[in-house]
Amino acid sequence: MVIDPIIIAQLLWLGLLRGSIYALMSLGLSLTFGVMRIVNFAHGEFFMLGAYISYFLLTFLGINPLISFISTFIVLGISFILGAGISRTFFSALRLRSGKEWIIDSFVLTLGLSVMLQNLALALWTPVYRGIPYLWNPSTLKILEISTTIDRIAILFGSLLAIFIFWYFLSYTFLGKAIRAVSQNEEAAKSLGVNENKIYTLTFGLSSMLASLAGVLLLPFAGAYPTVGVNPLLKSFIVVILSGLGNIHGAIFGGFFVGIIETFAIFYTEEGWNSVILLALLIIVLIIRPTGFFGKRVRYV
């Protein structure tokens, strides 16, 4: 056991970074459940697509801060269109068929989508690991005895900004309020003139956008390969289950919480066991509180 203020501060910083990515991923996952009642198993595939598209854009255009900035927006646009398209085709079609078993049916549909997208990436781009050395700037610096890189600061800054913009959008804009209205009471929202199909499309598009942003930000560290989204997916599932499915604020806090806990677990436990510890803890939490820490009583789960 090493207890040293500098190491603890360093671990906290790394945990915060990890947590910001988890928060970004879980935000989208929670949103699709809250609004559309979809437990999206293909969420990690948007992380993967974000990483790939960003990789191809950056290797084609060259890496420099301005291009990284612009290409991020291009990736976000593409993944929004892709997510909205999937919602319009697959989920709209399933919604016509499915009734009481919607949650499980849509979950199995996302399983199919996940298998398809992952293997499509495998067929198109082979399992080769593709990475870039840095997104903005490779230099390291030391702030208050904590050593870090500009890229890492950019990750935290980027994801915090995205979370803030998203939170502002949900809280203060008309569309955001409409999304929340559908998530709270779909029938009432419909009767007030909210077009729920448009809201579904928008929600799924936004959720894929958030996942792909996580993929872009993590590209210099995680790289791009067909199964790159699997681990972030498992972690963001842990977060949303822990914080209660569909709870957006819970997902943000839960993301940082799990990120910090995991960083400490990796440092202080034997290699490979941290996932076991995290999952065992989660199973215990679920047994004690079946709807998570911040979860409300959800009816049709």
Binding site: V39, G112, M116, N119, V301
Partner: protein, 321 residues
């Protein structure tokens, strides 16, 4: 009562496809095709055991690979410590039932998607644990498991060491038909009615004075012991197992079989397993394409034919009448 039940018309109807299946490989007499038949039956029965939970009691077991893997590892470790595979079969079934009991106990208060998540995390925990316990399980280097020993019946030697032998095929056929018959009899009995009642409305069922937790545990235990029975066969058949036997993809494949075949039919999973195995084998040079096809087929089935391939079958039968 039980005897009359076993010999009923329905049971015979369930057994007919197995009788037909018994004659096909010797007629074709091709060792490669026999291997495919063994594999189809193995995974089909896994799909049926998953269907026993999902299609009847509505328990979406997204960690089904846990049962399969625990059966394989139980017998793998037991035989490596010098026990006979025939004792291994008992250990495998017992450990599968035990895992089912634990899952049923843990998830007593959980429904629907939360049940799916906990079972998924459970299987992932088992995968990480077997990967980490390298001294015991050999981790990702893989655990070698001996083939089943030959049996001598007088002058006749039943050969179990050849992976494509007819004797192995008849053995899995027997295991598979026994499993299907047991599940079929159970879903036709009072238990089956209770499972379906739980699926339809849990609260209403509990109001009728039925101990829901007990029946959920029983369901998990039965599906678990059949899952690990198949794991036992798989380990001795393939000869090597690694922690990826617990992987999410394994579960996704089993879930796909049950969904593509049709939920709540038991037979559907075996049917779709045969179809998928042969389609996949035909597409062998295009290893990746077949996974895309499987994912697409799963999506298509859900959207267009919610009842799966067996739904098409029922539709055709009605059309003919």
């Amino acid at each position: 009562m039980v005897r009359g039940f076993v010999m009923s018309k329905g049971t015979i109807k369930v057994l007919i496809p197995f009788f037909i299946l018994a004659f096909i490989p010797p007629l074709i007499n091709n060792s490669f095709i026999t291997t495919l038949f063994i594999s189809s039956l193995l995974f089909g029965t896994l799909g049926a055991a998953f269907d026993f939970s999902m299609g009847y009691a509505g328990l979406m077991n997204f960690g089904f690979a846990a049962y399969f893997g625990i059966g394989a590892y139980a017998t793998g470790l037991a035989t490596n410590y010098g026990l006979s595979p025939w004792i291994g079969i008992l250990i495998a079934i017992f450990s599968g039932a035990f895992i089912g009991f634990i899952i049923g106990l843990l998830t007593g208060r959980l429904v629907g998607i939360y049940f799916a998540m906990v079972t998924w995390f459970f299987a992932e925990t088992l995968r990480f644990t077997t990967a980490n316990l390298e001294e015991i399980t050999k981790g990702y280097r893989g655990l070698l498991v001996e083939h089943l020993p030959n049996i001598k019946l007088g002058n006749l030697i039943v050969d179990f060491t050849d992976v494509s032998a007819f004797s192995l095929y008849y053995f899995i056929l027997a295991l598979s038909s026994i499993s299907i018959i047991v599940m079929y009899l159970l879903v036709r009995s009072r238990w089956g009615l209770i499972f379906r009642a739980i699926k339809d409305d849990e609260i209403a069922t509990s109001v009728l004075g039925i101990n829901i937790a007990k029946y959920k545990i029983l369901n998990s235990m039965i599906s678990g012991s059949i899952g690990s029975l198949m794991g036992w066969f798989y380990a001795h058949w393939i000869g090597i197992i690694d922690p990826d036997i617990f992987s999410t993809f394994q579960t996704v494949y089993i879930v796909s079989l049950a969904y593509i075949g049709g939920r709540g039919t038991l037979w559907g999973a075996i049917f779709s397993s045969f179809i998928l195995t042969f389609i996949f084998q035909y597409l062998r040079p295009l290893l990746i394409i077949r996974m895309i096809i499987m994912g697409g087929l799963l999506a298509l089935i859900l959207i267009v034919f919610p009842k799966g391939l067996s739904g098409i079958w029922i539709f055709l039968k009605k059309g003919l009448k």
